[in-house]
C-alpha cells in the first residue's frame, strides 16, 4: 500500500465527492469501531459503497482499514489491480477458490490483517448484484467469526449509492447515501445462528428506511 498517496486520494478526491456530489446520512456513527481489530459487514450496491464507508470511518482510521474484494475481478487488469491494492488497500480473495491450497486457507489473508489490529470491511453479498436489492449473505463472515470469536462484527445497512452508480453504468448521478449502523453482533455464535442474527439485524436496519421500490 502507498500510504501517502492513499491519504491524499481519500482527502482530496473521495471526501469532496462524498461531501458535495453525493452526501451521506449516517445514523449512530458512534457504534462504528474506533480501533482494530474489528469487522464491518455491509450490503453492496455499487463500487462507491467502499469509498462511502471508508470516508465515514475517517482519515485517522484509514491506515488500518482494509476492504475485502474479489481477486477474480479486481486483480485482472493492471491499472485496476494497482489502484485496488495500492490506493484502496483491498485484501484480494478469489471467489472461485474455496479449498486449501499449499496448506494455506483462502481466508488466511483476512486473519493476518485482523491479527495486525486492522478493521476489515466485508460485503457478504459477494457481488453488487441488482442495485438496491439485498441478495442473500454468503457465510464467509461466519467462518471468519469462528476463527476470531472475540472480534466484534458491526453491521451497516447502506442505501442510495446503487442509484448513484449501479453496476454496468458509467454516468454518476448525485443521490444521498443512507448509512445505518447497527449494534455489534455476538461473534461467538455458531454459523447458522450468526447468519440468522446478521440477517435479522440487517432487516431491522433496512426497516428504518421508508422503503421504496426502485425499478
Amino acid at each position: 500500500m502507498n500510504q501517502l498517496l492513499r491519504i491524499a486520494f481519500f482527502a482530496l478526491i473521495v471526501r469532496p465527492l462524498m461531501m458535495i456530489v453525493l452526501g451521506t446520512n449516517v445514523r449512530r456513527s458512534e457504534l462504528l469501531p474506533t480501533s482494530g481489530p474489528a469487522i464491518i459487514v455491509a450490503n453492496h450496491n455499487s463500487h462507491l459503497d467502499v469509498f462511502a464507508l471508508m470516508n465515514v470511518l475517517g482519515l485517522k482510521r484509514l491506515p488500518i482499514v482494509r476492504p475485502v474484494a474479489a481477486a477474480d475481478y479486481f486483480m485482472t487488469r493492471r491499472l485496476r489491480c494497482w489502484f485496488a491494492t495500492r490506493i484502496v488497500g483491498i485484501i484480494p480473495i478469489d471467489r472461485s477458490k474455496i479449498r486449501r491450497e499449499n496448506g494455506k486457507h483462502p481466508l488466511d489473508p483476512i486473519s493476518e490483517v485482523l491479527q495486525e489490529d486492522g478493521i476489515v470491511l466485508l460485503f457478504p453479498e459477494g457481488t453488487r448484484g441488482e442495485p438496491e436489492k439485498m441478495d442473500e449473505f454468503q457465510s464467509g463472515v461466519a467462518h471468519i467469526a469462528r476463527r476470531h470469536p472475540d472480534i466484534p462484527i458491526t453491521p451497516v445497512f447502506m442505501h442510495g449509492l446503487g442509484k448513484a452508480l449501479p453496476k454496468g453504468e458509467a454516468l454518476l448521478v448525485p443521490f444521498f447515501c443512507d448509512m445505518f449502523v447497527g449494534k455489534p453482533l455476538n461473534s461467538q455464535l455458531k454459523k447458522r445462528e450468526l447468519m440468522n442474527q446478521l440477517n435479522s439485524s440487517m432487516d431491522e436496519l433496512a426497516a428504518e428506511l421508508p422503503m421504496e421500490a426502485w425499478n
Binding site: G23, V26, V173
Partner: protein, 324 residues
C-alpha cells in the same frame, strides 16, 4: 466590500451579535441550570453560525458570490428531494439533466437575463425532460415520474433561484412613486438589502409564529400535516412580521413603508403556505426530515420551506413596483 452599503454591513453585524447573544444565553443556562438536554439547540445555533458566515462571506466577495451560494443550496435541495422520493431506475439520465439545469438557471440570474430566467425551467425543461423520458421507452410510472421531477425542479431550482436574482436585478428607483432616494441606496446596490429583507422576514415569521403559537395557540391549522401549527400562531406571525417589515423595510431596502408592509404581509402568508407544503410532502414520503445536512435543522429543504413560495412572489412584487 465597497459594493455593500453600510446599512447591510450593520444588519449582518447585528445578526452575528444576535447569534453571539444566543451562545451566551445557552452557556449561562448550561452552566447554572444543568439538567435539560440542549444538544439540538446547540447544533441549531452552530449551524446558524456556519450559514450566516458563509452567506456574509459570499455577499462580501461580490453579488455573484451570493448567486453561487444559492445555486449550491438549490443543488442540495434538489438532491434531497430526489433521494427521498421514489424515482425510476430508467430515468437516471433524465435526473442528470435535472441536476444540470441548476447551472443555466443561476447563470441567467447572475447575468440579469430576465426572459431566459423566466422560461428556462417552466418552458425549456418542461419540454425537454418529459421528451427525454419517453425516448427511454418505459411507460410504466411515467405520469408519476414526470410530475415528481418537474415539481421538484420548480420548488428547489426555479423558486429558490429568485433569491439569487434579487441580488443582480437593477432597479429604477425613479419608478417608485413619491420615494426619495436619500438613503444612499441606489441602483444595483439594493440587491443585498432586498435579499436580506426577504430572508429576515421569512425566518422571523417562523419565530413569531412559534412564540405566539406557544402563548395563545389552541386550534390547529392542519392537525394531520403539521400538528405544531395553530391559527393563533399563524395570525400572530403574520401581524408581527408585517409590523417588523414596516420597520426594517425602509431602512435596508429602497421600498417605502407601504410597500414594506405589503411585502412583509405577503412573505409571512405564502411563507406559511410553503412550509406546510413541505410538511405535507414529508407526510406523504413518511419521513421526519430531509436528511442531516444542517445539524439541528434536518435537511436543506426543511429550512427553505418558507422561501419556496415567498421568493418568487416577493421578486415579482419588487420587479412590478421598481423595474421599468
Amino acid at each position: 466590500m465597497s459594493h455593500l452599503p453600510w446599512e447591510i454591513c450593520v444588519t449582518l453585524l447585528s445578526l452575528f451579535a444576535l447569534l453571539a447573544t444566543a451562545n451566551c444565553v445557552l452557556f449561562i443556562k448550561m452552566r447554572y441550570f444543568a439538567g435539560s438536554d440542549d444538544t439540538l439547540i446547540r447544533h441549531r445555533i452552530r449551524t446558524w453560525w456556519a450559514l450566516a458566515a458563509i452567506f456574509s462571506l459570499a455577499l462580501c466577495i461580490s453579488p455573484r458570490g451570493g448567486v453561487v451560494f444559492f445555486g449550491f443550496i438549490s443543488f442540495l435541495a434538489l438532491k434531497e428531494f430526489l433521494s427521498m422520493s421514489p424515482t425510476r431506475r430508467a430515468d437516471r439520465r433524465v435526473l442528470f439533466y435535472a441536476y444540470l439545469s441548476v447551472i443555466p438557471q443561476y447563470y441567467f440570474a447572475s447575468t440579469d437575463n430576465y426572459q431566459m430566467f423566466l422560461i428556462f425551467i417552466p418552458v425549456i425543461m418542461f419540454i425537454w425532460l418529459p421528451t427525454r423520458m419517453w425516448m427511454i421507452g418505459q411507460g410504466d410510472g411515467f405520469e408519476k415520474a414526470a410530475g415528481t421531477l418537474l415539481w421538484a425542479l420548480m420548488i428547489t431550482v426555479y423558486s429558490l433561484s429568485h433569491t439569487a436574482y434579487l441580488l443582480t436585478m437593477p432597479l429604477d428607483l425613479a419608478v417608485s412613486n413619491g420615494r426619495s432616494v436619500a438613503t444612499g441606496i441606489v441602483d444595483q446596490h439594493s440587491g443585498p438589502g432586498l435579499l436580506i429583507f426577504l430572508i429576515m422576514m421569512a425566518e422571523t415569521s417562523d419565530i413569531f409564529q412559534y412564540a405566539t403559537g406557544k402563548a395563545f395557540g389552541k386550534t390547529q391549522v392542519s392537525p394531520s400535516i403539521a400538528p405544531g401549527k395553530t391559527y393563533a400562531g399563524l395570525i400572530g406571525g403574520i401581524l408581527l412580521t408585517t409590523c417588523f417589515a414596516g420597520v426594517v423595510g425602509p431602512l435596508i431596502t429602497p421600498m417605502d413603508i407601504t410597500h414594506s408592509f405589503i411585502a412583509g404581509f405577503m412573505i409571512a402568508c405564502v411563507g406559511f403556505a410553503g412550509e406546510l407544503c413541505i410538511c405535507a410532502l414529508k407526510c406523504d414520503l413518511k419521513i421526519r426530515n430531509f436528511g442531516a445536512t444542517l445539524p439541528g435543522h434536518g435537511g436543506v429543504l426543511d429550512r427553505v420551506g418558507n422561501l419556496i413560495f415567498s421568493a418568487p412572489l416577493f421578486f415579482h412584487f419588487i420587479h412590478y413596483c421598481y423595474h421599468q
